[in-house]
Symmetry: C2
């Protein structure tokens, strides 16, 4: 039987992707739909810590939250921790307008797990890559404009995105730790 | 003698401008330099409420905070509550790149006053205008790209900015209320 952990988010797409990845890694994620308050901070760790603490106080069961952010080098790390807001306002079209030759970017994912008040574990991963010249593909978020290093296609068009993405790598770190912990606890 | 209120901020420029405006309106502002945590929210009121509460818990004296945000209509309200972050990353140059013909914008200011735990008063003001075609003037923030309605110059170049700006209007609302309160309390 798969271990069960709640996944707190307001974003069903994100949950579905995380569920798919995690089930292959041996953990069954269950959706805990909620709107969590985010603090404004340049530290993804701090934002994630706060969100996991909140999620646990709402759900009172072992729970993770996942946050991802795109950092574009030539834009001093924009959109960074405010990726959702930027996506909802200027969108991928806006980001493409801001860029010229220098297109390096990093996609980061951070997972925060909480099963006890005041006790949060963080797992993060990053994927280096670049911003495409045009929007390619139709998936949600920045997937249609991010090309991971060593690839020629955007996340949206990559068939194996869920085996190479920042979200996959962070979930793998988390599930390894979680399953080991369960094993050593008997 | 002028009434004395603390002004909590990490931004000396903002304080100096607010001090200048307020002294003419009958209130003496004193700088309380601190870094306040901002929540991520699309509601300026909510952000300001949290900041004033925090500022009071740090300073334990009657204190105001002031937040201003630029909302560009054709960009769905971008940069909005994340104005500081956007200024620090893509800057005014980035904003100009995002715009074409439709350039309407609103500059909002909100002041939150706290003199007792759990008791916050909010005062807000907005100025309609547009984003200039080019950066004009050298003042801080979005001043070099915002032209208030009925004017031809940006805030940076307007000699009487401190008599027409969103910050002036919000400070006027606050000082009117504050001085009346003091008067009626004897």
């Amino acid at each position: 039987m798969l271990s069960r952990v709640f996944f707190a988010s307001s974003n069903k797409n994100k949950f579905e992707e995380a569920r798919l990845i995690s089930s292959k890694l041996g953990i069954s994620l269950e959706f805990f739909k909620c709107k969590l308050q985010e603090i404004q901070s340049n530290s993804l760790e701090e934002i994630a810590y706060h969100k996991a603490t909140q999620a646990f106080s709402l759900c009172s069961k072992p729970v993770i939250i996942e946050d991802d952010s795109l950092f574009i080098s030539s834009l001093n790390g924009f959109p960074g921790p405010y990726s959702s807001f930027v996506f909802d306002t200027i969108g991928n079209k806006g980001i493409l307008k801001l860029l010229s030759k220098q297109r390096s970017a990093i996609f980061r994912s951070i997972i925060a797990y909480c099963e006890k008040k005041g006790n949060v574990m963080l797992f993060d991963a990053k994927v280096y890559g670049k911003i495409s010249e045009k929007i390619r593909g139709s998936k949600w978020g920045f997937d249609p404009i991010f090309i991971p290093k060593g690839q020629t296609l955007t996340y949206s068009l990559l068939k194996n995105k869920n085996l190479v993405s920042h979200r996959y790598l962070a979930l793998k770190k988390f599930t390894n730790w979680y399953l080991n912990k369960k094993k050593s606890n008997g």
